[in-house]
Symmetry: C2
Subunit: 231 residues, 2 copies
Amino acid sequence: MVDHVLDVLKSCSLLSGLPEAALREVAPLARVRPFQANEVLYQRGEVQSALSVVGAGNVRIGSTNAEGREIMLTLFEPGAWFGDTVFSPGMPRVFGATAHTDGELVEVPGQDYRALLARYPEAYPRTLDMLSRRLWSAISIIEDNALRDMPGRVGRRLLFLAHMHDPQRGPGPVTFKLTREHIANMMGMTRQGVHGVLKALEQRGLIRFSYGRITVPDPDALKAYLDERTG
Amino acid sequence: MVDHVLDVLKSCSLLSGLPEAALREVAPLARVRPFQANEVLYQRGEVQSALSVVGAGNVRIGSTNAEGREIMLTLFEPGAWFGDTVFSPGMPRVFGATAHTDGELVEVPGQDYRALLARYPEAYPRTLDMLSRRLWSAISIIEDNALRDMPGRVGRRLLFLAHMHDPQRGPGPVTFKLTREHIANMMGMTRQGVHGVLKALEQRGLIRFSYGRITVPDPDALKAYLDERTG
DNA sequence: CTGAGACTGTCAACCGGTTTACAGTTGGCG
DNA sequence: CGCCAACTGTAAACCGGTTGACAGTCTCAG
């Protein structure tokens, strides 16, 4: 059991700055939390802080406004971490988390994680780096949303997801299990709007899509097309 | 001279976790860089990393796309810091910085800053907290942009700036020196669109504005109005 | 004081993307 | 194997916000 937790923690990039001995220390303190598709894991506004690592399955990060309109920020795969409030205890969560598929979460209580860092300060630089990169991503999204039109935004986000999906991926094709509606929620668009964009991209051979699935056959080609589209 | 640099460093929230002795160590390594209004301080894409603290004047953070359309992320006041790439050396800057008024920057070379943190590890938690809050802000902006209409977005951003301007402010009025165009650039809107929104907010008595100036007489009232507008 | 340049108000035309509506598919579950 | 719920395609009406254009106003440097 603890061995399994340890494996999950080891797979997490945020924790890879810590020596294995450190991970062994926290593993017993972590909680394994299995989840089913569409289960709400955390709600926006909660103040409790824990570091969550996706052990299996996919998790949607996003929030919903009063009228039920949803915005989805990103989709996390196994090994990803969230719950950035561990670094600012007391702050409410800005976004909620929902299970996208069945899977399992490994949760390290915020206090224990912070205590661990204090005991292994050599891990701090790596931690700052990870957080700073996440900020970088968020700012890129703001920029894309402000400066690009719909095809540009959708294309860029697909590339972003492709990169999250597998940072060291080669040039091969990537497939996402996302409905038109999920994409719409990621982009602040509608189902129909997304449809039009995808159709246009498909006609250029840059993507392929079918029921609940989108494939980018050649991410580099897509990137080249997008870069060319706005200089 | 070094005393002046020290004062600026002390005023910076990011560095306030460090003991004064530590700041005295880096002060001689920092560079003072005076600037004039509209001078370009850093450009998007540069990889050189330094921690910049605003010593005097205002700095716009933003970037420009190929067609010359600009997006402005925020406006920094004295004491604010930027150059988050110090935490991820080698990463290019996502946004550029431009002088909004005359003023002066204090720049600490990235290496020196990182070395200092390593020497005073007790400052790490505060540093993580600051970075994490900045991420929180960025995500809030993404959310606002996706979920709110123009009046909602403009209003929220004004409140955000009011808070940046003076985190411990009382309930009094706040005034910004921003043109309609600057606001438009912050929101991904046009000058004319902003005009309409401001007029609507003014008619409700929530803001007042004149040439190059916007005043929020009662931020709490504005907040209440915005919260009510979308539940 | 005065002029030039930056900022502002306003309006009609336009358009990208939403809304609304409905019919056709797909795939999983009983 | 067949049904139902979720997902998808399509098209017309609509609308918020941009585009473009121009005249008026303010500010500050000289």
